[in-house]
């Protein structure tokens, strides 16, 4: 069975992602921006699939496209669209933007040209078929402590949100 992960699909999804990302910042209407962001996130999930990480792709769809973006849309829909369309969309901080863009661009170019020396060449060692099991053994075995710390951080965030939202508990 020929692998599906051909360069064609990589360029396709990468293009969808880039176009989606550009649309997020150029659309006047915030709802359109959110929809473009969903398209970009779904394309990202496909790229995870191409990297033989189906579990990460599934989680990406459930959490980002299905969960977080719905909440985004929920909040945006409550805001008056007419007023937010008339608001100024771009911040004219050209200097900061230029510095950030050149820094990121330089980093990417550096990685692209010298990447082979920095990163060890790593052949795919895990089979796709037990990707989920691999992730599980990693998270609950080797990286148990960082994983629990991350969960604790999220718990603190939840409690903080409740405390801020509710005056009287």
């Amino acid at each position: 069975m020929a692998p599906v992960a051909t360069p064609f699909f990589f360029y396709l999804f990468a293009a969808i992602m880039v176009i989606g990302g550009v649309m997020v910042i150029t659309r006047k209407n915030p709802v359109h921006s959110a929809l473009a962001l969903i398209v970009a996130l779904l394309a990202q999930a496909s790229i995870y699939l191409m990297l033989y990480a189906p579990f990460v792709a599934g989680v990406q769809i459930i959490l980002y496209a299905g969960g977080i973006m719905v909440l985004f849309l929920f909040v945006i829909m409550l805001v008056s669209i007419d007023r937010s369309i008339r608001e100024r969309q771009f911040n004219s901080q050209w200097v900061v933007g230029l510095i950030a863009a050149t820094a990121l661009g330089g980093l990417l170019i550096a990685v692209y040209t010298k990447g082979t020396n920095i990163f060890p060449e790593h052949a795919l060692s895990v089979v796709e078929n037990d990707n989920t099991q691999q992730v599980a053994t990693m998270l609950y075995g080797q990286y148990m402590f960082p994983f629990e710390i991350a969960s604790l951080l999220l718990l603190v965030a939840i409690i903080g949100a409740v405390v801020m939202a509710k005056k009287r508990i």
């Binding site: 709802v31 769809i61 459930i62 496209a65 849309l73 929920f74 829909m77 796709e128 990707n131």
Partner: protein, 425 residues
Amino acid sequence: MRAIIQYIQSYLGSDQTPGAAGNMFWALVYIMVVFAGLSVAVIAMNWLERKILAHMQVRLGPMRVGPHGLLQPIADAIKLLLKEDIMPSEADGFVFWMAPFIVVLAAFTVFVVVPFGPTHAITDMNIGILFMLGVSSLSVLGIVMAGWASNSHYPLIGALRSSAQMVSYEVAMGLAVVSAILMTSLNAEGTGTLSMIGIVQAQQAQGEWFIFKFFPLGLIAFFIFAVAMVAETNRAPFDLAEAESELTAGFHTEYSGFRWSLFFLAEYSAMIAVSSIAVTLWLGGWLRPFPNFLSGATWDRAFSLFPGVVFLLFAAMCFYNAVRMPKHPLFRIQTIGLAGFGVVLGLIGLVLFVPAVSLRVQDIFWFSAKIAGFMYLYIWYRGTFPRYRFDQLMQMGWKVLLPLGLGVLILTATVALLQQRIWHP
């Protein structure tokens, strides 16, 4: 030419799904069969829902088009296709146009991993259940888009309600699903699986449906899922998103004709999809009832007669009603049609008695029969329960189902650990 035939034939002997075997041709055939079956099921559900609801309310329901209104769904479909497709002038055109397609895509794509039998699935993914939950959660995006793009008050309120409701119940649903997946890891290797076929095979290997596992923990998890799935599909008594007495039709108020029918199609196929998750996780998927108590060759033989008997019963019902038809020249065509339908059903039933056929088909039969039970439950709920108020809905989701789900998950994990470490070390 010969190469093509060989490619088609090469799959026939294998015991894998076409997706796993990598056979494009049979995968396409399966996709078409599933799609056609799903469309027929939606049409049948449309008729059954109206009939059963009517009988629950001591009415007759559709009686005019065809015998006992059997052709009513087809008449409805033709009406919907011929209707003018209206878009509100202030609507957001592109989003309005996209919304029904997203809902339909999300509702139909999940059937890629639904296991109708050990080999009767389009494909089997390592992340099967995750894929089903993820893709079906995308349908809420379509609903929100539809409600917002209509640029009208009722749809917007409907969309807001529906998104809040679906996001809240997804949490309880996920917890229930996790506690069932945890049960799949109770084997010698100690690793579970997310694949839909693997989950059913785990129940087969343990000789127990997960609804009865660690009684009553499996039952409670199933109950949580059964409540959450009704809320996820926006059906009564959780149909606040389209509460007709408050919001005319909720998020699809402004839709008409073909696009409205897409929403309808998506709603019913989403109902079938979540029921198939419940069947796979807790009710043993394609396994026949009582695999452990009534085991042995004789019982296998007896249960394999079931599909044929059911179809013969349907045929008998058709003949009975054909005889009871009014003896009037105007009803002649209807009577002949009903008797012909009975003959077709009877022939299908007879074919199902052939051992080679029933061996291949009984998985599909049991899976569909279990789903049909859920479909009847949906109609029953709609006929009996009054609609929840929104605060009651939220209270139910966050204060009852979520703590219950967390408790069941922790208890299941504890009992499973005890079982593996202490009772059977």
